[in-house]
Amino acid sequence: MTRLFIVRHGETEWNKLGLLQGSSEIPLADAGREQARHMASALSRLVMPDAVLVSSPLSRAHDTGLALGNELGLPVALDDRLRERAYGVWEGITPEAREEGWPAEVEAWHAHGNPHIEGFEVHEDVAARMVAAIEEWAERAPSDLIVFSHGSSARIGMMGLLGLPLTHRTLGNLGNTCWSRLRRRPDDTWTLERHNVWVDVLYPGVSA
């Protein structure tokens, strides 16, 4: 039975500033690289030796994945369908500028709807490509599948796999280098077993 670990990238400068990154190519900050090393050290003890690793091509996710790949001696494949949601004209602007320029759209977005702004990739499209990619890689993975992705696309992807409605934020976003674990059931549906596991506390790998 396949276990899926879905991991969010480490911290970037834009994360610290509270800016939406979306499709923008923003590298890991030094703190993010440190987080990735901690994540890799913890996850390398939890996953099977024949795990399959696949990442969004954006460097913040890929470099996070490489930290684990190097630890395990495994390659990290890239799949463009695992990229972050595009936020269009909202990428790289401050929350204040968003509020000022698009008050109604920000309100719709906070109520978990799709805002009508240029270049925003809607929930349904993000879910469709994330689910298709994960199901395809899960078919190929003999045991564990480790996916490196992003705050919004990881959350929407998990909600899609679980069949949860996309109009409610039933799952919170993953923190930087936090992960969730899902298990594929014999009937090909998924169960969420862990969500937003944080490496530093409630420490995975400590024996009971």
């Binding site: 549906t189 596991v197 009971a208």
Partner: protein, 203 residues
Amino acid sequence: MRRVVLMRHAPTPSNADGRVQGRLDVPLDDAGLARAAWAADRVAARYFARGWSGLRIFSSPLRRCVQTAEALALVIGGEIVVDEAFSQRSYGAWEGLTWDEVRRDWPEQWSQRESGIDPDVPGWDGQAEVAERVFAGLERIWDDEVPAVVVTHGSPITLGLLAAIGQPASSTVLGRVPHAGAASVQKVESGAWHIEAFGLGAD
């Protein structure tokens, strides 16, 4: 942001033996108490590092939960409130059996449970009622606007959270929080609940 933390009790000797407990009031032994202290430190570090005050710790009346709640209170302080809303469901005729015996002697009912539905077992508490009872407790706690930890059991956490996210009690989208593990939930602006973290624990 405000949240409710849900903790599952530390394991008892019955858990170690793979025995069904339900409403049976099995206390923690020394190993369980040590595990509860370990978990209390980690829950405190994750959620309470910034020094919350006025914390209330709601606990199932069963001793394994009250003991786990006491371990948490030793670390972060707070008042323990015993609350029937967070008690364990009855497993009826299965209580006291090992899970191996259940699989062997109740194969049909075992399969029913595995597929997410209530097994046909005398004295079994239906999952929809458990989900409703726990969710009502969560709503009540949220309305009190005080920082809160709920110490309860495996089924009440899974079923209460399914109700909170609008899923039927028979859904298999959520697994089970490990012993001495934790989850956290928040009610957001729109009035919907969301799961911030689930299944935290050692494994």
